[in-house]
């Protein structure tokens, strides 16, 4: 007798569709989507019914005023769906989206370990690199969908509440509808790119620890600390190595003519950081004894 026949295909293990189903029904996924839909609703409610709505200051739909020399963000936001979506992106890019990206990427392997499902996937056997590949792709897809949901929901809610006025910058220069859509897409895409660093960091942590909250929390805390460091002028050129230095480069997409320089650097930084972090995660996971 010889070995029994085997119906097994490496490519058939843990496909992206299967992993998406496994992840999408989780409560945290639902919460993430609800959050990014609730955020614009809350802001609309605050602007419409809040105490400042009738002082006539920045609430008007004229593209925002600059009373007291302050940058009236909300006033600008209420000039139409495009500006509203842009402002929601601005509100959420620094923290909310970082947490969501860190959650989708940081929780993904560690939670399998904590549920004891990781070992069952690996003995199925799902090859380790294939497991990470699928997990990373699905984490990125979910992050991107949440970002897209935020943009679309904000635009729709903003358009219903404030009309579809085109993108207007506080420095003057309104754009056509088509340009507005293009600029907003660029901004959203760039913000998605800046999420690569927290995403990669969270993914690495996810491989290093079996505690999902630890992986997500560590990544978020590291990003926050790096952003604090970025605010310290005395660090000088050292700050170029911090992710926060590139976090706001998307504003260049709002110029009359788009300036790509900073965004190109930001793209390169995030892409390289992501590649390095994921690379370390893969090498570590390759050699790890799975004891969870």
């Amino acid at each position: 007798m010889s070995a029994p026949t085997l119906e097994y295909s490496r490519q058939g293990t843990l496909g992206i569709r299967v992993e998406l189903i496994r992840q999408i029904k989780r409560r945290r996924t639902l919460v993430a989507f609800l959050l990014v839909i609730a955020l614009p609703l809350i802001v609309v409610a605050a602007v419409k019914f809040g105490p400042s709505s009738d002082d006539g200051g920045g609430g008007g739909g004229d593209g925002g005023g600059f009373g007291d020399g302050n940058f009236d963000l909300v006033g600008l936001a209420t000039s139409g769906g495009w500006n509203f979506a842009l402002t929601m992106l601005l509100f959420s890019s620094g923290f909310l989206l970082v947490i969501i990206a860190a959650m989708f990427m940081g929780d993904t392997v560690a939670s399998e370990a904590s549920w004891s499902t990781l070992r069952y996937l690996l003995v199925a056997p799902v090859p380790r690199r294939r497991l990470l590949r699928t997990k990373a792709i699905v984490g990125l897809i979910l992050t991107a969908i949440v970002l897209l949901t935020l943009v679309v929901a904000s635009w729709a809610i903003g358009a219903i509440a404030f009309g579809t006025g085109p993108l207007a910058s506080p420095f003057g220069g309104a754009l056509t509808q088509a340009e507005s859509a293009q600029r907003l897409s660029i901004v959203a895409t760039y913000i998605a790119i800046t999420l690569l660093f927290p995403a990669g960091l969270a993914f690495l942590m996810s491989v290093l620890t079996d505690v999902p909250l630890g992986a997500v929390g560590t990544a978020v805390v590291v990003v926050i600390v790096l952003n604090i460091l970025d605010a310290i002028d005395a660090l000088g050129t050292l700050r170029r190595f911090l992710p926060g230095d590139y976090g706001t480069a998307w504003v260049d997409a709002l110029n009359p003519t788009i300036v790509w320089d900073q965004m190109a650097v930001g793209l390169a930084y995030n892409l390289m950081a992501f590649a390095i972090l994921i690379g370390i995660a893969v090498l570590r996971f390759d050699r790890k004894d799975i004891t969870s």
Partner: protein
């Protein structure tokens, strides 16, 4: 071109700090000393005479920086107004690193140097500079061209820039200079006149002048005096001008003496001139005057219009510092030649991020076109005659620039420079049909009239860019002050030189000329008055200068390309570092053996030997028990067999194929290891279905009915797993292991949490399973369990295999009749063995 643009002028973030002190260099000392890596020699040198009546020398404090190899050419660094030798320390270190001897000194009246400020007077500050050259001539460390004539260059920005130009005109021992954001004529700088070919003294730039003057007031002993460290004649000149807005003849002479315009025709050495686009103090027109006057009989002049300036702008200090070093290397040492091309930084301003985030595109052309471009284009401009009010006392006044506020100035240009109602006339073009690149000054001709004859009409003209909304952009917040005398009801036609800017105006945008009556940075007549302003011709003349993008900036596409290459390299590296899984060759002799373990060992870090040299085989079609107390190494062995843990020695084979993580042969095994693992948010059925779909065996039959029957969960199979009891999960876990009826079933402590009837049922299931020719391996610390279920047994203890065989074999010839007794006999007394 010293420190000025580099550190405190061009860096908006830092400028926020500087603004409160004074833009010309107070605050940078503290910052730059932090960077000090070399220790300069601290010197006190004799300068020129203290005053016209006191021929004693002033004492100049200086720092001498020596490079690694000497003798080397020297560069003297002159600081900006309000600064000292410390404020050029960064520049000094940069040049020392590039092999120059650097002498940084505090001008008289600044730092700890003695003497009084005479604004680069030839008799005093310039005489001081000559004594520095005398000193360098005595130093062995400095290359000497001739006895008493060292190889020396001068560099500085603003006040230091003017000194560099002046000393180049007065002392022919200077070999090369670099002067940034400085004046050509102090009078036209501080009394600005933008009417072309006018001989009327311009509008007093009172805010800048006041800031300038107050920066020289601070005395070393902290005393408050009205003249501070200024020489009396300069103090008097300023006081008259500031108090009455009047320029006395004496002041006029003083300023002329201290202006490079007086000696530009004598400068025959290589001259690098920097101008700041964001500079309302010494605007590009001043730099242009220096450039054109010097270039008249000196072929070696390079002009750079960078994006910084006294008003802030964009920090280009690194590029300019490097340019500076290359300039001196080319002209003082044997560095590579540097061309004299005209370089312009085009700021691609960022609307939200302000200029801190702005990108800068570097443009160049071989020849310098001057302020009005290589050619001019007339663009039609329209607007009715308009009445404007010059308010009484000049308030409220428009705010175009914020002198000394640095980075805020750009903000002012963008946000605050809105023309005040009734105070300005606006003339605009139609939307441009094609884009225009404006590099230099545009001109416009207007008619000015006043119903009541007025002695002194002050106006401020500016060129604005109007985009899609009506909110115009005022480039760099620059306005062109206009002063006219004797305006009456009959219109007077004047041609106005608008501020020199560098800007891309896109097609569809419009240009507008706004002529206003107020600007808070300038002195205005007490008014009130009403003027009428009309276009004299319908032409706005803009400078056209074809420029080419230079390669010195990094092209945008290069960054993503680098990132892509790095990412690909990392991917390749990761691929190369894939663990080598096939150390062991496939074993054809074991092809029929479901599981074979040979010399398997696992030594954890710290010296714990979890498994030590374990060898056994699991024959086909049997139920084999892996027996041992807790901690015997059973689970570690199983994990190694499943490729979860790397063995430190030996190999495991499944049907002759070596085991490694992800080895296809593992698909022969269905397993249940150390408790069940399920996604708690999904139902039991969904868990099984998704596990099967993730297992790579989708093409075969999962035998779902069979395993569901074994799980025996009934309708609970469609409830979420998080609602299950421990026993339900246990049964679902065993069912999952049996999905697709694998050839080998490996179950670790399968009966945990099951009640006796379920255990009995399970036993039967496993017997039946083995009866189909499949193989079952059960690990357990429950001896009776193994005894009742298994035909074969492997006994482990302390990580080592201590017995193996059939249950019958082990029982044969033993005193006890139960496996428990056999086990006790083998391991000896004193070991805790759990029995059920």
């Amino acid at each position: 071109m010293g420190r000025t643009y580099a550190e405190y002028v061009a860096n908006p973030r830092r400028l926020a700090v500087v603004a409160s002190a004074m833009a010309l260099g107070l605050a940078s000392a503290a910052i730059s000393t932090a960077h000090a890596t070399t220790n300069p020699q601290d010197l006190v040198l004799d300068g020129g005479p203290i005053s016209a009546t006191d021929s004693m020398s002033v004492q100049l404090e200086a720092d001498l920086y020596l490079p690694r190899t000497t003798p080397a050419p020297a560069v003297v660094l002159a600081h900006g107004f309000g600064g000292s030798k410390e404020s050029v320390a960064t520049e000094a270190e940069y040049l020392v690193d590039r092999g120059f001897v650097v002498l940084a000194y505090s001008a008289r009246g600044f730092g700890s140097s003695t003497g009084q400020i005479s604004m680069n007077s030839p008799d005093f500050e310039i005489a001081d500079a000559s004594t520095l050259i005398d000193y360098l001539a005595t130093q062995d460390a400095v290359t000497q061209d001739a006895p008493g004539d060292p190889r020396v260059g001068f560099a500085g920005g603003s006040y230091g820039g003017a000194l560099s130009l002046m000393v180049a005109g007065y002392d022919d021992r200077v070999d090369a200079i670099s002067a940034d954001i400085t004046w050509n004529d102090l009078q036209t700088s501080l009394f600005s006149q933008s009417v072309i070919d006018s001989n009327v003294t311009g509008v007093f730039k009172q805010l800048w002048s006041g800031l300038f003057f107050s920066a020289g007031l601070t005395t070393n002993d902290g005393q408050v005096t009205d003249c501070g460290r200024f020489a009396p004649d300069w103090c008097a000149a300023y006081s008259t001008a500031a108090a009455d807005g009047v320029l006395t003849e004496q002041a006029r002479l003083l300023m002329a003496q201290s202006s490079p315009a007086s000696i530009t025709n004598r400068i025959s050495i290589p001259t690098l001139l920097g101008g700041g686009q964001s500079d309302s103090l010494f605007p590009l027109a001043q730099v242009n005057a220096n450039a054109e006057q010097i270039a008249a009989n000196n072929p070696n002049v390079k002009v750079v219009w960078h994006a910084g300036g006294h008003d802030g702008g964009v920090n280009e200090s690194e590029r300019l510092r490097e340019l500076n070093a290359q300039w001196f290397q080319a002209h003082l040492a044997s560095g590579p030649p540097i061309d004299d091309s005209f370089e312009v930084s085009l700021v691609e301003a960022s609307a939200f991020g302000g200029q801190a985030n702005a990108g800068v595109a570097l443009l160049s052309r071989p020849t310098y076109p001057g302020l009005f471009g290589e050619s001019q284009r007339a663009i039609q401009i329209a607007g009715p005659p308009q009445q404007v009010l010059a308010p009484a006392g000049g308030v409220p006044a428009a705010i175009s620039s914020l002198p000394g506020a640095g980075g805020l100035a750009g903000l002012a240009g963008g946000l605050l420079a809105l023309p005040l109602p009734n105070q300005s006339a606006t003339f605009a073009t139609e939307p441009l049909t094609e884009s225009v690149q404006i590099i230099g000054s545009s001109t416009i001709t207007v008619d000015i009239a006043s119903e009541t004859p007025t002695q002194n009409v002050t106006l401020f003209a500016s060129l604005r860019i109007i985009g899609g909304t009506e909110r115009p952009i005022l480039p760099q917040g620059l306005v062109a002050p206009v002063l006219l005398e004797n305006i009456g009801p009959t219109p007077t036609t004047v041609a106005i030189e608008l501020p020199a800017i560098v800007a891309d105006v896109a097609a569809g945008e419009r240009l507008a000329v706004v002529v206003g009556t107020t600007d808070q940075a300038y002195r205005m007549p007490p008014g009130p008055a009403v003027y009428s302003i009309a276009l004299a011709t319908d032409n706005l003349t803009v400078p056209i200068t074809p420029m080419s993008a230079t390669a010195s900036g990094m092209p945008v596409w290069l960054w993503p390309l680098i990132a892509l290459i790095v990412s690909v390299l990392i991917a390749v590296l990761v691929l190369l570092l894939r663990p080598r899984n096939t150390k062991a060759a496939a074993r054809s002799d074991l092809a029929d053996v479901p599981i074979a373990v040979e010399g398997l060992a696992k030594h954890f870090k710290g010296g714990v030997h979890a498994v030590n040299d374990v060898t056994f085989q699991v024959p086909r079609g049997v139920v084999l028990g892996l027996l041992g107390p807790n901690g015997a190494g059973k689970t570690t062995t199983m994990r190694m067999v499943m490729g979860l843990i790397y063995p430190t020695g030996g190999n495991a084979y499944v049907f002759g194929q070596p085991v490694f993580p992800g080895a296809a042969t593992l698909a022969h095994i269905g397993s249940f290891i150390e408790g069940p693992g399920f996604l708690p948010h999904l139902s039991g059925r969904e868990n099984l279905r998704l596990y099967w779909e993730a297992s790579g065996r989708e093409s075969s039959d999962p035998k779902l009915d069979y395993v569901l029957d074994i799980a025996g969960l009934g309708s609970a199979i469609d409830r979420k797993v998080r609602t299950y009891s421990q026993g339900m999960r246990q049964r679902l876990g065993i069912a999952q292991a049996m999905l697709g009826m694998p050839d080998v079933l490996v179950l670790d402590e399968p009966t945990n949490g099951l009640d006796p009837p379920q255990i009995r049922e399970m036993r039967q299931v496993l017997h039946d399973y083995a009866a189909t020719g499949r193989t079952v391996v059960i690990s357990s610390h429950l001896l009776s369990e193994v005894e009742q279920t298994c035909s074969h047994v492997v006994v482990m203890h302390h990580g080592a295999l201590i017995a193996q065989g059939t249950v019958t074999e082990l029982l044969a010839g033993r005193t006890g009749v139960r496996l428990e007794d056999v086990f006790m006999e083998i391991v000896g007394e004193g070991h805790e063995v759990v029995t059920s």
